[in-house]
């Protein structure tokens, strides 16, 4: 069959285009009201409170604060029982991730799904700033005659949302989750100054992250959780005692809240009752007059419902009332009823009318329906007001996302037609028993997109598919090479056990935790990985002749060169490169609080001393890390440059692809999380044995198209298994940013995005590159440089055809998945989990389809082949 590039590229472009069009229609940008409101709720009256302390405890689920069995907040319970605090369970809208939640509790709006993505992609990105949107912090600061002083300590997400807004700040980074104490001590140490009688703040915001970290790391029931709760309780007591004793702070409102909850295993991001039930507590002695006489703590219940349930965004209008500031324009919260009773009952209706009027303005922004106008004018009692508010709130929640249906239909149609065309085109050329079996598997797999729990636990499907693939290959090879198959199977099983996979169950007994508890073993394996990777670079291809510019031979027997002095140059430069990368990982681990075994401490101090760093100096070490990482990348690129130069100047092309792929692997390892680095050892084993299997396959079958088809399938099968085994899921909560800033001093969107992609997909990228190597230089992977002549790279005429077929195979897979996924998303757009399960999956799929398939498979592989 004549395979040409034109139809494949055209189909790829159309399919990617329809997918992107779907994204555009599915995630419309939200319209918001500009400007700031200037109508204070109580007019010129004196506010009930003129100062405010907001203490956000990240992931403080309602039962942590209120439940008899789980809560250690004894002081809080005393406050509730003595009527000095009003407790609530606050419903926090999904996605239950910090950034959208902070937007919710400052703006009062329901989050746009894109907020969740930007939670990851952001960082000092000015477009994130909320300075231009109406929010209660702005109102509080500027609504009185002179600007008030607001200080902030804690999670630096606030600083991204409100750049240059706070008078005194100290941000802590929220992304390194194994630190339970330092993040919080960093906040608490500021209390010494802030809780002194001469302190002159009007607003104090504290955001504690430790409890969330403990949840992520050890789950909600660990002993650390109890200790942390006691610590937090002490801080609440300390603040309360100060507020009640200091004469300056008599009118201070104290707010304790969680930004979201956590699920049974301590993660968050979704919409389960645990994740959406955050605790909320208003504290002030003034509340004694309400005489609520609540009991605390309450017996535990499974729905995390304690006391009255309110919406988390209700705190915006409530704060506006208590502080007497205008309600933020985009607020969708409703004033909490209990607090109205602090004011004379004749004022209640007029207060609520402010809330109603603000709702009406917001409603008319997106809706031309004026029927609510008359209803608004007919309001006369507080009961009516609440009914009206709830009604508008419901409408606004439902229409929070207006899909662009013409885009959706066009993309559904485009993708569907594309899939049919690709299927027809593929089967016209390559229909065989094997391809038919694989296509059936692809179609069956792609139906999983229609089930939310299958999407959440997708790794199980990949495990089954990998096993099925291996078994099928074993069968069509007539059960030859059982040892190699067994080794590959065992290696896959080890990979499967490496990390916690899936979103529902938290298994403590995974290899990651084993390694983290045995630092000597971890660092030994990391070192071994570098050693093996370095050796592979040196021995597998022909890079040892890289600096030998007198080379002119293109015969496959280059053994006469093996004793050349110039090999030493390569050896030394590779050793330096690998050592540098290892030092980088080691120092990174040292900075991030990994346990370092004793025998490596000398290595660290040697590293530090050679840069004249004599004590633990965070900023200097991070500068060193930046330069180390940059040097690694530069070193890899430099050797690649030399190797390519050698090819072009001397025509020495033996093992070029192997050399480049192996060098890039070193960079990928550099970008991988430390406890995942030893996985590459397993990858090397699989790759080696799979090459043996392929060689024997080539002896049994001569059709190259089937070979390419099998390697391509293997590539995306194992890529997916690897991705999930490296701790990836289809939830945004597991995007790992610990390697997104390698070699970068300040935030640069493009670099950070690229590094985030590489560090989260280092396994899939490795397999994608390796598959090229496995197709074209099988003998070299198998250390049989003498047989290089029989490798497919030497087939000048058809090597691009083979790459083309590989892309067609990938496209076939992705296209079937794409069509099913967008149909599922369209179909289930009113499903409960659309924002928490399907939308993140849509984004992940976009990364696989657009970045991995198009950039890496087409781009990088194409370049690799083109220079050979």
């Amino acid at each position: 069959m004549k395979l040409s590039w034109f139809p494949v590229i055209v189909l790829l472009v159309i399919n990617v285009g329809s997918f992107l069009l779907f994204l555009k229609g599915f995630f419309p940008s939200k319209r918001i009201l500009d400007g700031f409101s200037d109508v204070s709720l109580l007019g010129s009256q004196r506010p009930m409170f003129d100062k405010v302390v907001v203490m956000v405890i990240d992931a403080l689920r309602s039962d942590f604060l209120f439940s008899k069995s789980d809560s250690k907040f004894t002081f809080v319970h005393e406050l509730i029982e003595s009527n000095k605090a009003i407790p609530f369970t606050a419903f926090s809208n999904p996605p239950t991730v910090t950034l959208p939640r902070l937007k919710g509790i400052t703006l009062g709006s329901t989050p746009n799904f894109l907020d969740a993505i930007l939670n990851i992609a952001d960082d000092k990105d000015k477009s994130q700033g909320l300075l231009n949107q109406d929010n209660w912090l702005h109102q509080f600061k500027y609504s009185s005659n002179s600007p008030k002083t607001i200080n902030f300590y804690g999670d630096d997400t606030w600083l991204k949302l409100f750049p240059d807004f706070f008078n005194s700040t100290d941000g802590t980074n929220s992304f390194f989750v194994s630190d339970f104490y330092e993040v919080d001590n960093n906040v608490t140490r500021h209390l010494d100054n802030e809780l002194a009688s001469e302190a002159n703040w009007d607003g104090l915001i504290l955001h504690y992250l430790g409890l969330d970290h403990i949840g992520h790391k050890t789950g909600p029931d660990s002993k650390f959780m109890k200790l942390k709760q006691e610590e937090m309780d002490k801080i609440i007591e300390r603040i309360y005692t100060f507020l009640s004793e200091s004469s300056n702070h008599k009118n201070t409102l104290f707010l304790v809240m969680g930004d979201h909850g956590m699920n049974e295993i301590g993660n968050h991001g979704g919409s389960s009752s645990g994740e959406t039930s955050a605790a909320l507590l208003f504290v002030s002695p003034k509340f004694e007059q309400l005489k609520l006489n609540l009991k605390a703590p309450l017996p535990p219940n499974n729905d995390y419902n304690y006391y009255q349930k309110v919406n988390q965004i209700d705190i915006i209008p409530t704060l506006s009332l208590l502080l007497n500031i205008p309600i933020a324009k985009n607020n969708l919260g409703i004033i909490i009823r209990q607090f109205l009773d602090l004011f004379p009952s004749k004022l209640h209706h007029s207060i609520l009318l402010h809330n109603c009027k603000q709702f009406l303005d917001l409603f008319h922004l997106n809706n031309r329906d004026h029927s609510l106008n008359s209803e608004f004018h007919g309001l006369s009692t507080t009961e009516d007001d609440y009914i009206f508010l709830r009604k508008v709130q419901d409408i606004m929640f439902e229409t929070a996302s207006n899909y662009n249906y013409s885009n959706l239909y066009l993309s559904l149609f485009g993708s569907f037609i594309c899939t049919l065309a690709i299927l027809a085109y593929f089967n016209y050329g390559f229909l065989s028993k094997t391809t038919l079996v694989f296509q059936t598997a692809m179609v069956l797999y792609s139906f999983h997109f229609h089930g939310s729990s299958l999407v959440e636990e997708e790794h199980h499907l990949w495990w089954l598919l990998n096993l099925g693939f291996l078994g099928y290959l074993f069968k069509i090879q007539n059960f030859e090479l059982p040892a190699n198959f067994l080794i590959v199977l065992t290696a896959l099983r080890v990979i499967k056990a490496w990390s916690n996979t899936g979103q529902k169950f938290n298994n403590y007994y995974v290899l990651t935790n084993l390694l983290l508890e045995n630092p000597p073993l971890l660092w030994f394996l990391v070192g071994l990985t570098y050693l093996v990777c370095g050796s592979l670079i040196y021995f597998q291809g022909s890079i040892r002749h890289c600096f030998n510019f007198s080379i002119s031979s293109n015969s496959y027997d280059v053994s006469y060169l093996n004793n050349d002095v110039n090999n030493g140059i390569t050896f030394v430069s590779l050793s330096i490169l690998a050592t540098m990368s290892f030092s980088f990982k080691l120092l990174q681990g040292y900075m991030d609080g990994y346990d370092i075994p004793e025998w490596l401490e000398t290595f660290i101090s040697w590293n530090l001393l050679s840069f004249d760093i004599r004590e633990f100096d965070k900023s200097r070490i991070s500068n060193l890390l930046v330069s180390l990482s940059n040097n690694c990348l530069a070193g890899v690129l430099l050797i690649i440059f030399f190797r390519i130069a050698l090819k072009f100047l001397r025509g020495f092309k033996i093992g070029l692809i192997t050399d480049l792929v192996n060098l890039l692997t070193l960079f990928l390892i550099n970008q991988t999380k430390i406890e995942l680095v030893p996985m590459f050892l397993i990858f090397f084993i699989i790759k080696h044995h799979f090459s043996k299997i392929l060689l024997s396959y080539r002896e049994n079958y001569t059709q190259l198209d089937q070979l390419v088809f099998i390697v391509s399938s293997f590539s995306f099968l194992i890529s997916n298994l690897t991705f999930f085994s490296m701790g990836g899921t289809n939830s945004l909560a597991t995007v790992d940013l610990s390697n997104a800033y390698n070699g970068i001093k300040s935030y640069q969107l493009e670099k950070v995005s690229a590094l985030t992609f590489i560090s989260n997909f280092s396994g899939p990228i490795f397999w994608s590159l390796s598959s090229i190597q496995l197709i074209f230089e099988t003998n070299l992977v198998n250390f049989q440089i003498k047989n290089f002549a029989s490798d497919l790279i030497n087939l000048k005429g058809i090597k691009f055809k083979l790459l083309n077929l590989k892309l067609l195979t990938n496209l076939l897979f992705y296209s079937i998945c794409c069509t099913n996924l967008i149909f599922a998303c369209y179909n289930l757009r009113f499903h409960l989990f659309i924002w928490t399960v399907f939308s993140p999956k849509l984004l992940y799929f976009g990364v696989w389809f657009v970045l991995l398939n198009t950039f890496i498979e087409l781009g990088v592989s194409g370049i690799l082949l083109a220079i050979t």
Binding site: G451, S452, S453, L454, E457, H460, W463, L464, L467, F479, L489, T490, R493, K496, A497, G502, K504, N507, Y508, Y509, V510
Partner: protein
């Protein structure tokens, strides 16, 4: 069906070249309706009645004991309905079975799977069964699986391992397996176990979605279903 087998035999007797063309030396089963393992669905229902979903381990142990007893009976039925593949050395068909020690054969067919079960456990783990938890459940699954699948095979092949291996060397492997009742049942039992894992991660929150209940169900139904479907082939 037996006729077909004979035909195959004569074909190869003509060539007398056993090395070049590999023949699956499969024993023949007569009266297939009699050798259907009727006891398997009974045991399965019984295990559910006795609380498989609430006390997984205890019920699996109880079920295993009854399985062993009933497998012994089934083995006997299977034995009297099996015709050996003719021995190449004598070239004659053995209709009489007085050479075999029936008690020893059935006893060893029942004991061997028990001895095999650690190996089956290892294979299950290799194929993805959990290691950190549920090891006992997995072991019980391995025991059930090996007894359900291996005992009838051992009886059918009369512990002749070489004949069993010859099945895998035949060029039309799938055809041979499909047309043989015990082999196809065994295959479907393995497939059933394999498919049995699928419902576990679904969020239906049913008590039977526990490891390894669905897999045991898959094994039993697979084996029983395989032998029933084979009647039609």
């Amino acid at each position: 069906m037996p006729k077909q087998k004979r035909k195959v035999k004569f074909d190869h007797d003509d060539t007398e070249d056993q090395e070049a063309v590999v023949v699956a030396r499969v024993p023949t089963i007569i009266h297939k309706w009699a050798t259907i393992p009727y006891h398997l669905p009974l045991i399965l229902v019984g295990m559910f009645k006795f609380g498989l979903t609430s006390h997984v381990k205890q019920t699996l142990v109880k079920g295993y004991i009854s399985l062993i007893c009933l497998q012994a009976v089934h083995s006997y039925i299977l034995y009297i309905n099996t015709v050996d593949f003719p021995d190449s050395s004598s070239g004659k068909k053995h209709r009489k079975k007085n050479k075999d020690n029936l008690v020893l054969l059935i006893a060893s067919s029942l004991v061997l799977p028990v001895l095999m079960s650690p190996a089956v456990l290892a294979i299950l783990v290799l194929l993805g069964a959990p290691v950190s938890s549920h090891v006992i459940e997995t072991y019980l699954l391995a025991a059930h699986l090996s007894t359900v699948v291996a005992t009838p095979l051992l009886v059918t092949f009369k512990l002749n391992f070489a004949n069993f291996v010859s099945v895998f060397k035949s060029p039309d492997l799938f055809c041979v397996v499909c047309h043989h009742q015990t082999l196809s049942s065994g295959l479907l039992a393995l497939v059933g176990t394999w498919i049995g894992v699928l419902p576990i991660p679904l969020d239906w929150d049913r008590p039977w979605q526990a490891w390894p209940v669905t897999l045991v169900v898959g094994t039993y139904i697979g084996f029983f279903g395989g032998s029933v479907i084979n009647l039609a082939l």
